[in-house]
């Protein structure tokens, strides 16, 4: 065998290996995609359960009508930004204002670094505070009643 034939074989082998590698990666990625698609279909099938409500008792300076009911999920965020579970467009509400979460049958309320603060029965909720049903939760200047 001549050396140039040997080099030609090596050259072709390299191209074949490069494309085999690309194929292997693409197969791995497709398998990954199927798996995440299955997981997200699972998640989408189970919409987050509604485990409580907030009812507006005092709308303060905002345009929210008293008596409006908001559904609460086990993890709920309130704020002006579009990513919040409950989005309130009011000048006294910060982008990310309040976080509420439900654990072991108890609601916890914590301020998310807002400007005008979050209060549970007039106590500032800078750290997480437990809240019972019927408690008054104040977000900015809007007051809610926690209901089941």
């Amino acid at each position: 065998m001549n050396l140039d034939v040997f080099l030609l074989i090596l050259r072709l082998l390299l191209i074949v290996l490069l494309y085999l590698f690309l194929m292997q990666v693409v197969i791995a990625i497709t398998r990954d995609l199927r798996k995440t698609a299955a997981i997200s279909a699972d998640v989408a099938g189970k919409a987050p359960p509604v485990v409580g409500h907030l009812v507006v008792v005092d709308s303060g300076p905002s345009a929210v009508l008293p008596g409006t009911r908001f559904d609460l999920q086990p993890q709920t965020t309130i704020g002006r930004g579009p990513t919040n579970t409950i989005q309130l467009t009011d000048n006294f509400i910060s982008g990310e204002h309040t976080r509420l979460w439900f654990r072991n049958g108890v609601w916890y309320v914590q301020d998310a670094g807002s400007t005008n603060g979050t209060f549970v029965n007039n106590q500032p909720a800078r750290d997480a505070l437990a809240a019972k049903l019927g408690d008054i939760i104040q977000v900015g200047f809007i007051r809610f009643k926690l209901g089941a």
Partner: protein, 473 residues
């Protein structure tokens, strides 16, 4: 291994190891081919026409040491990741490993060539890649908390400006703006290119700033004719950063970096606001700036003139064009000739002439050397690898759980995308040729380190996302 629970073995990144297998074979194969090809060429020069193949010309294990070292390092990183970050993305490392391995091989191969004349080139590139893998692991460990990056955003911006200032001072000191090293900082034996780190600082700053001011930017209450622009007060810091970076690179003649930074700015603005009108506005401004630059700076005109060369029709060139192709456009014309002589499957690794004819074939023009030796098929595969890296990066960005991580991952991935497009299109005479490295393939320590830092950040984000997912499920 009896003391280990089945946990580590089950969590082991088998997929990554499996994907690394073919790159290892490719690298070994090329390393075996290199001395044979060099022997073949030296025999050809002595007019020996048919050279028989004997096993005696196969290289010994000692000759394979550079590639064996790289393989060991990649396998070690795979093991390290398996123990500490089992959930990080498993596809990125094989892709990046293969590319940087090819980069090391090209440096080994081009080192002795007449236009490079640096026999230590390959060894140094290997050392940089090994150091880069180390830095990648260090980045993963250091970024325990991504908020740390977000909180000190002005610090990063300041560091970026500092790098810019250092570069300008250095460029003014060197004075010769045509020397290829005018954008480097010399610390002893190290030549650092601050712009490589600058691009990371800029993306981190943009990501942090945009994720905080996203609401205001998407509203866009500042009207200019039919375009709705973001309010200037919110955009101010970003524009300032952009202006400083652009000014620098126009002053010290780094057209490629100016393009890269402007590209990052536009893509991140679009990712953050989702408004096409901002991008269109940005492009219009860019065209205007480009026109002014074209009128003002002679070197930009030369580069555009090189793009308009009609290489296919070379037989009908006038004397002036021939002179231009031997001076101003020499590099690009030689690069095109090298690309063309590669054909479909290439002339074979170690057998091309790019290193002897194309200036800076080891960094800016590496794409043409690759094209000559691996051919069109090889170039398509390499572009395919880049596309897969980009896909993986944007995938990590989509899946990330908060806005900052999303913008950061997408912005860092965009760096690869824009940089590859600029330099590949430059080498192929679609865009004016500019001096920025091809990620992972070009020779250059700063570029390798910066790219591995980016890969480290991407891996960390994917690991964090997977951990959060697992925590919720």
């Amino acid at each position: 291994m009896a003391s280990l629970s089945p946990g580590p073995l089950r969590r082991y990144r088998w997929k990554e190891l499996g994907l690394l297998f073919i790159p290892f074979i490719i690298l070994l194969l090329e390393m075996i081919q290199l001395p044979i090809a060099q022997l073949y060429q030296s025999k050809l020069q002595t007019n020996q026409l048919s050279i028989p193949f004997t096993p005696a010309i196969l290289p010994t294990i000692r000759d394979l040491i550079p590639v064996l070292g790289l393989i060991a390092a990649l396998a070690a990183l795979n093991m390290l990741l398996s123990f500490f970050f089992p959930k990080a993305d498993q596809v990125l490392l094989p892709l990046v490993g293969l590319l940087s391995g090819i980069g090391v091989l090209m440096a080994l191969r081009l080192g002795p060539e007449p236009l490079v004349r640096d026999p230590m080139l390959g060894t140094r590139q290997l050392a940089w890649v090994l150091f880069g893998l180390l830095i990648c692991a260090a980045t993963l460990f250091l970024l325990r908390n991504m908020n740390w990056l977000k909180r000190y955003k002005y610090t990063w911006a300041l560091l970026g400006i500092l790098l810019v200032a250092l570069t300008i001072i250095n460029a003014l000191r060197v004075k010769n703006l045509n020397s290829p090293t005018h954008d480097q900082l010399n610390f002893g034996p190290l030549n650092l290119q601050p712009s490589e780190l600058l691009k990371i600082f800029i993306v981190v700053f943009f990501a942090a700033y945009l994720s905080e001011n996203r609401d205001v930017l998407t509203e866009g209450n500042f009207r200019l004719g039919p375009l709705r622009l973001p309010p200037l007060r919110q955009l101010g810091p970003i524009l300032l950063m952009l202006g400083i970076a652009l000014l620098l690179f126009l002053v010290i003649r780094e057209l490629g970096l100016a393009l890269l930074i402007y590209g990052i700015f536009l893509s991140m603005l679009y990712l953050g606001s989702g408004k096409l009108s901002y991008v269109i506005g940005g492009l219009l401004v860019f065209v205007a700036l480009g026109f002014i630059g074209y009128k003002l700076f002679g070197y930009i005109q030369v580069r555009f003139a090189a793009v308009s060369l009609d290489v296919v029709n070379w037989q009908n060139w006038s004397q002036a064009t021939v002179d231009f192709s031997r001076n101003g456009a020499y590099q690009i014309v030689q690069g095109i000739i090298a690309l063309a002589s590669g054909g479909i499957i290439g002339v074979g690794f170690g057998l091309g002439h790019a290193g002897a004819l194309v200036s800076v074939a080891q960094s800016d023009m590496i794409f043409t050397s690759l094209g000559e030796e691996f051919g069109l098929a090889g170039l398509f595969a390499i572009i395919g690898i880049y596309l897969l890296i980009l896909y993986r990066g944007y995938r990590i960005a989509i899946e990330a759980s908060n806005e900052f991580d999303q913008l950061l991952a997408a912005g860092l991935t965009s760096i690869f995308a824009i940089q590859t497009v600029i330099i590949v299109a430059g080498n192929m005479k679609f865009l004016p040729l500019t001096g920025i490295p091809l990620p992972f393939l070009s020779y250059g320590g700063s570029s390798i380190i910066a790219n591995f830092i980016i890969i480290g950040i991407l891996l960390r984000i994917s690991h964090n996302t997977a951990l959060e997912r697992a925590g919720l499920a």
